[in-house]
Amino acid sequence: MNIDMNKVTEILERNPKEPGAIIAVLQDFQREFRYLPVPAMVKASELLHVPLSKVYSIATFYNAFSLTPRGEKVIRICKGTACHIKGADKILEQIEAGLKLKPGETSADMKYTVEVVNCVGACAMAPVLIVNDKYHGKVRCDQAMGKVKRG
């Protein structure tokens, strides 16, 4: 996969050039590319003087980072406590069956990525399903796929 190295440079430019900034830089990469491309990590490692092994260890430690590209639509199912006891598993199952994807996977056509998250702070409307940045609350399992396709 080709990435825009100008974007990488731009992100590195706007962050402090010190080892302590590595997480912030990776977060910006993640936001820009929706994953952490290897060339970007290499560049960050060189510029911030953080060994590549350490960059990799940070990239795999934090849930916010993914090492594979994500799809156009990122479907996140909340599995926080409130959502769990209100049946988040069933929502997940509908989506797994509907898209034939397990959490963490992206469809071959790069359209969908399915993820689970732990509480997005909207517990009052559990169970919560998020399609890109749109929150859907009190989702019934029969509505889940419709929301995925539409919103």
Binding site: A24, F61, G80, T81, V120, G137, R140, D142
Partner: protein, 617 residues
């Protein structure tokens, strides 16, 4: 504008109040997470659009304000009209024109939009009369839902930065610490450590640099108080941190915010910039000798990073692994310098204590747990939302008087507090007062404020399994008891939910828990077995039902239950289309049948059936 003396601040406050008073009416539209998800941003836009197009009497465009979470999420999207606290629930975009015409122009109340008590149909106009609000005492949430978080004038008009001004003019750092000690304030992040003592230890250590960090990681998967404060009233957090910086002698602070809270980051960032502009942050704050600035550090979505030593590593740009606690972080914290770490709610409470005095704070709550505590009420409860109560209120009062009890005619089974480090308490503990020590003694804990209510259709074993799964995933893997111990505990717990365990397994789990509690490195492991231990303590019979009878009394554990269609089935095909494994067969208007060999008991059919035609056996 730069405010460089406390006197100027007071002058400005008077101006702000005058400007606020000149708005004869205010329309507060809640943009908290719950309301927002129900489209309250569209309602806000509609108010602005309609008011722009027409000149309404006594209502200017500035009268429309977006606010943070107002609390009563179950009734969202909500709109409050001041004066009078007129509370409109479940507002739709189509109601906006009517609200402007009737309520704002003519002062009429729109009956159909008022909240009505589901038990007796009583309608409330002023939200402060609604039971959900009436029993609350709001200190840390004092401004949430009342002010526009982006407008510092709103904060100033409600007494903002008065605590800071008082500290800078009247109190020496030692006296600030004394006041906080005297107030009895204990950390709201879960542990309940006395805040004044923490500040004092930090101030006493000789060091060139000291840091103040605010813990906005809110890792408990079922809690959203800190989020609402950071989003809805960011200046209160900043003010608390600045007061702390003055007390301990710090020049640099950080707010560590959870990755899942992008709006909190935006609102805090805006607040920091505004505070700098007005001279509440930066060099010579309010013209004093205090210099202090705050940076935001975004978390990476790891639960363990809420733990103090892991958090500090993460702020420094490293993998967030905790370290052993023989050196405390007040001595050697961020970059090995003395550091005060406090929770969002703790900091948000500090300015009020300074402003109103320690004695006032002590008069609220119980002798050993003073003041109030915010909770997010969620789960199987009618009034989900954000609340703040005086310490010492009983669980029953919270759940029934404020929370409105259990919906759908079901029965209460357990209340979970403290998230993955806490526990579940059963019905016979409902009269316990909520304070740090009582909850801990009962085998649960106060925690950061997530309160999840469970009804009789919840399985305590499954809940324990859920938390263990969470913890296994979130354990950083540094120490063996936590990494391996919790994994084994999780495996055994899963065995029980499948009806494959023996009583010897249960005994083994209890022994293993003891080891994990004793030998783990940080709080994650040390408290990790709690969800299991508390459920086995209070719901042992349900564990035994799974083991001996292969039955799940809550009707949750899939391997132990069956879904069967009874003759109330009308043949509507709803369940058939939702079944993810295609286990249901039948034709329109004919009785459907579930093929038990195919069925994996997910319960989706049960959820969509509107005829009560599906039984759980």
């Amino acid at each position: 504008m730069h405010i460089d003396t406390p006197k100027k601040l007071e002058q400005w406050r008077r101006d702000c109040r005058k400007r606020q008073d000149s708005l004869k009416k205010k329309i507060l539209v809640c943009l908290g997470p719950g309301c927002l998800a129900n489209g309250s941003d569209k309602i806000l836009d509609e108010f602005k659009k309609v008011l722009k197009d027409k000149k309404a009497k006594d209502v200017s465009l500035e009268a429309v304000k977006k606010t943070g979470c107002h609390g009563f999420c179950a009734q969202g999207p909500m709109v409050v009209i001041e004066p009078g606290g007129i509370f409109y629930a479940k507002v739709k975009k189509s109601n906006v024109a009517e609200i402007i015409e009737k309520t704002l122009e003519k002062g009429e109340i729109i009956d159909k939009l008022l909240y009505s008590d589901p038990d007796n149909g009583h309608k409330y106009t002023d939200y402060k009369e609604i039971p959900f609000y009436r029993h609350q005492v709001r200190i840390s949430l004092r401004n949430c839902g009342q002010i526009d978080p982006d407008n510092i004038e709103d904060y100033i008009a409600r007494g903002g930065y008065a605590g800071l001004a008082k500290v800078l003019t009247d109190l020496r750092p030692k006296e600030v610490i004394e006041t906080i000690k005297k107030s009895g304030l204990r950390g709201r992040g879960g542990g309940g450590f006395p805040t004044g003592r923490k500040w004092e230890s930090c101030a006493q250590i000789e060091a060139p640099i000291r840091y103040v960090i605010c813990n906005g990681d809110e890792g408990d998967p079922g809690a959203f108080m800190d989020r609402c404060i950071m989003e809805g009233d960011p200046h209160s957090v900043l003010e608390g941190m600045i007061i702390c910086a003055y007390a301990v002698g710090s020049r640099e602070g950080y707010i560590y915010v959870r990755e899942e809270y992008p709006l909190a980051v935006i609102n805090l960032q805006k607040a920091i910039e505004t505070a700098r502009e007005y001279g509440f942050l930066g060099e010579k704050i309010l013209g004093s000798d205090l210099s202090f600035d705050i940076r935001i550090s975004r978390g990476g979505g790891a639960f363990v990073c809420g733990e103090s030593s892991a958090l500090m590593k993460s702020v420094a740009g490293e993998v967030g692994e905790p370290r052993a606690k023989y050196i405390r972080s007040v001595q050697k914290g961020l970059h090995d310098q003395p550091t005060v770490l406090n929770n969002v709610e703790t900091f948000a409470t500090v300015p009020v204590i300074i402003d109103k005095g320690a004695d006032w704070f002590v008069s609220i709550g119980t002798p050993k747990s003073t003041g109030t505590k915010a909770f997010s009420l969620a789960g199987k409860i009618r009034n989900t939302g954000l609340i703040e109560i005086p310490m010492g209120m009983t669980l029953r009062e919270i759940i029934y008087n404020i929370g409105g009890g259990i919906p759908d005619g079901r029965e209460f089974k357990a209340v979970q507090t403290g998230g993955p480090s806490g526990g579940c308490l059963p019905a016979d503990k409902l009269d316990l007062p909520v304070d740090f020590d009582t909850l801990t003694k009962a085998g649960s804990m106060m925690g950061s404020g997530g309160m999840i209510i469970m009804d009789d259709r919840t399985c305590p074993v499954e809940v324990a399994r859920y938390f263990l799964e969470f913890l296994v995933h979130e354990s950083c893997g540094k120490c063996v008891p936590c990494r391996e111990g919790l994994l084994q505990l999780y495996k055994y717990c899963t065995k029980i939910t499948r009806g494959e365990a023996t009583e010897a397994d249960l005994a083994l789990m209890e022994r293993l828990s003891k080891t994990i509690v004793t030998a783990s490195l940080c709080g994650l492991g040390q408290s990790g077995p709690n969800p299991f231990l508390s459920t086995v303590q209070y719901f042992r019979d349900e564990y035994l039902a799974h083991i001996r009878d292969r039955k799940c009394p809550g009707g949750v554990c899939r391997e132990l239950i069956q879904y069967v269609i009874n003759d109330k089935c009308t043949g509507c095909m709803a369940c058939l289309s939702v079944c993810p494994v295609g286990a249901i067969s039948g034709e329109k208007k004919k009785l459907h049948v579930i093929d038990q060999d195919k069925c994996d008991a997910c319960g989706s059919c049960h959820d969509v059936c509107t005829f009560a035609a599906i039984d759980i056996k």
